[in-house]
């Protein structure tokens, strides 16, 4: 078996296909390598060029977004976006989807989604201060809905509560269009100092590379690939593709990383998300324009006999990769050991521009890094605009016969009913800075900024929004509306909206009508962003959300963040009293 992973052998068309690579993509690999890849190398190309990592269907459209303003410190392109909120404080935030894993195993899928988005944020030097979640389930009476809702909610709470970051808001909708494909989008907001933000670009030659966190196991390795028996000696038990989260280790990672970040020991840092060791090492090398050499024997491993292929593609959770300042190795070891984390020096930066992997005294991978990023597929998928429909005029709709019944119908709609059952399972107050959260039913959550000397008089407002039915009816208008809604929600609580993150959930991009929805929504969102000077600083795309050829409603979830400079000017729904005047403002 070993030579399948290392030695000379033929990569068959089937193997290429199982790795989700097209023939033409494989041609590019052959051309860049000037030889056949071995299986490990093929695996690395396949994950780097997957939709998930390369954004091959969406990249050219995401490029249109407004991404700068005088408050943006870092826009899209890093683990999360960074904005300036004055006084040397920065807010770092991002939203991400974990749809498919949450459908397969709701508790763990949702939990690891929360864990992943938190890592994106603390990787950049921020202490996570708030979590939000945007959830979309199928019809309430669909047989799977009940257990999906309870599993997802328990998973989000189970992870966030344990790590000790408040989950302060979100949204939950029900629609038959999500019966076979729920959406679990999680957002994390963190607080850092503007002069202590960390990036992923590796620098220097010969600098040590550290691995920290949980050991690597065979978690989530390529469903398709692993199913084929030829890679798998002991396949009596089909390996689960679902990862189990370990929020306790995540909490230790946060504390340990922030402690080390307070020194000058870290040159670059990157969490291991999807395609863990592969994407983290390649992103660090590519951004820094250096090469990387890893000794896989030194990678902390949870199971015996792991191959290079398995280690590079493992999606084990709660792991980080960092380039350490030479001479600071001991300091790093001390901090991580204090927090009881597995830590190992597993390689070094080089000046070759190549990714070299050593395993068992052999070189098992030696490929140039630039093509992995530069030559990643970038498709201009055909897209047909969604047909305009006639506007539904109020006078075309019959007035309700019975006002009480109409009101009851609205109030008992699953989208309108109280979500208390959900948010009571989330710790909304830990960290003692929650000014307003789900509980009050307000438009945005409000979190006080906690400086190094204690609480300040400043706060951030956070909201997530999306109305998929508008996007379905008219993607451009729906896209505008999503962004505008977050803007209104932030404004309503007294905040100045600053920037957004997004999570673009759509169906199969290879279908022109779906691609049309995608492009339409982006165009609409972008128009609104430009109109408000309200840039996109981070985000995530989730495509192929379909079951049996039926796509989910187009769901570009947006998370907005605004600044409240003086807590005295906060406005919430709390404290209303009988006899007060209600006013309706606007169109």
């Amino acid at each position: 078996m070993a030579d399948l992973f290392t030695g000379p052998h033929t990569i068959t068309a089937d193997i290429v296909k199982e790795h989700g690579l097209s023939e033409s993509e494989y041609e590019v690999i052959l051309d860049r390598l000037e030889r056949e890849p071995n299986l490990t190398e093929l695996g690395i190309f396949s994950v780097m060029w997957s939709e998930h990592c390369s954004y091959k269907s969406s990249r050219r459209h995401l490029g249109k977004f407004l991404t700068t303003s005088d408050r943006v410190i870092q826009g899209p392109g890093e683990n999360a976006g960074v904005i300036d909120i004055d006084d040397g404080d920065a807010i770092i935030f991002k939203m991400e989807s974990h749809n498919h894993p949450s459908y397969i195993e709701p508790y763990q899928g949702a939990a690891t989604g929360v864990g992943g988005i938190m890592r994106d944020v603390f990787t950049m030097g921020a202490r996570p201060i708030a979590l939000m979640n945007a959830l979309r389930f199928g019809a309430p009476d669909h047989p799977k809905t009940k257990s999906l809702v309870s599993g997802v909610v328990a998973g989000i709470g189970g992870y966030g509560n344990c790590v000790g970051v408040p989950t302060v808001g979100g949204e939950t909708n029900f629609h038959p269009g999500y019966n076979g494909n729920i959406l679990v989008n999680a957002m994390c907001v963190g607080l850092a100092r503007t002069d202590n933000v960390f990036y992923s670009a590796a620098r220097g030659v010969g600098n040590p590379i550290f691995y920290v966190g949980s050991k690597t196991g065979r978690d989530g390795i390529h469903g398709a690939t692993m199913a084929s028996a030829e890679f798998d000696d002991d396949s009596e038990e089909k390996r689960p593709t679902v990862q189990v989260g370990d929020p306790f280790t995540e909490k230790l990672l946060i504390e340990a990383c922030l402690e080390l970040m307070a020194t000058d020991a870290i040159i670059a840092i990157q969490d291991m998300g999807a395609a863990g060791l592969t994407s983290s090492s390649i992103e660090m090398a590519d951004k820094g324009g250096v090469g990387i050499e890893l000794d896989l024997d030194d990678v902390p491993q949870r199971e015996e006999g792991m191959t290079a292929y398995e280690m590079m593609l493992s999606e084990s959770q709660e792991r980080m990769l960092m380039v350490i300042q030479p001479g600071k190795e001991q300091l790093a070891f001390d901090v991580f050991e204090k927090w009881g984390l597995d830590v190992a020096e597993i390689g070094r930066t080089t000046d070759t521009g190549r990714l070299v992997l050593n395993h068992g005294k052999e070189v098992v991978c030696d490929i140039p890094i630039a093509p992995l990023a530069d030559d990643a597929p970038n498709y201009d998928r055909p897209h047909t605009p969604t047909e305009k429909r006639d506007i539904l005029q109020a006078h075309d709709v019959a007035a309700p016969q019975d006002q009480n019944e109409a009101l009851l119908k609205v109030m008992t709609d699953p989208d309108m009913t109280s979500k208390r059952w959900i948010w009571e399972q989330y710790d909304r107050h830990v960290m003692a800075d929650t000014v307003d959260s789900s509980q009050s039913g307000g438009d945005a959550a409000i979190i006080r900024i906690h400086g190094s000397d204690g609480p300040t008089n400043k706060a951030v407002a956070i909201t997530t929004d999306c109305t998929p039915r508008y996007c379905y009816a008219d993607p451009v208008e729906g896209g505008r509306q999503v962004v505008a809604e977050t803007w209104r929600n932030l404004t309503c609580v007294g905040a100045d909206p600053i920037a957004i993150t997004d999570c673009l959930n759509f169906g199969n991009p290879e279908r022109p009508d779906i691609m049309g929805q995608f492009v339409g929504c982006i165009d609409g969102m972008n128009e609104a962003c430009r109109a408000f000077d309200y840039p996109v600083v981070s985000g995530n795309v989730s495509l192929y959300n379909e079951t049996n050829g039926v796509a989910i409603p187009p769901t570009p979830a947006v998370g907005g963040v605004g600044l409240i400079s003086d807590l005295a000017h906060v406005k919430t729904l709390k404290g209303m009293r009988p006899g007060e005047t209600l006013m309706l403002i606007g169109a």
Partner: protein, 80 residues
Amino acid sequence: MIARVYVGLKPGVLDPQGRTIAHSLNDLGFDEVQDAKQGKVIELTLSGDDREAAEARVKEMCETLLANTVIESYRIELDD
């Protein structure tokens, strides 16, 4: 009739609880502990006395509720 269902994580699935228990036993001076795994036992009291039928039913209970077969495996034992 009593049925006992043992539910444990499938091999290869991360067991954070087990790992933490092993560490903590080591910290307490139990150096001989090399590894720990945590599982569940569910003891069911059942009416009826047809063992074979009971076994089939309990299997069905495991598949629908008692075990999360995506990550867990189970084993059934019957007593009288």
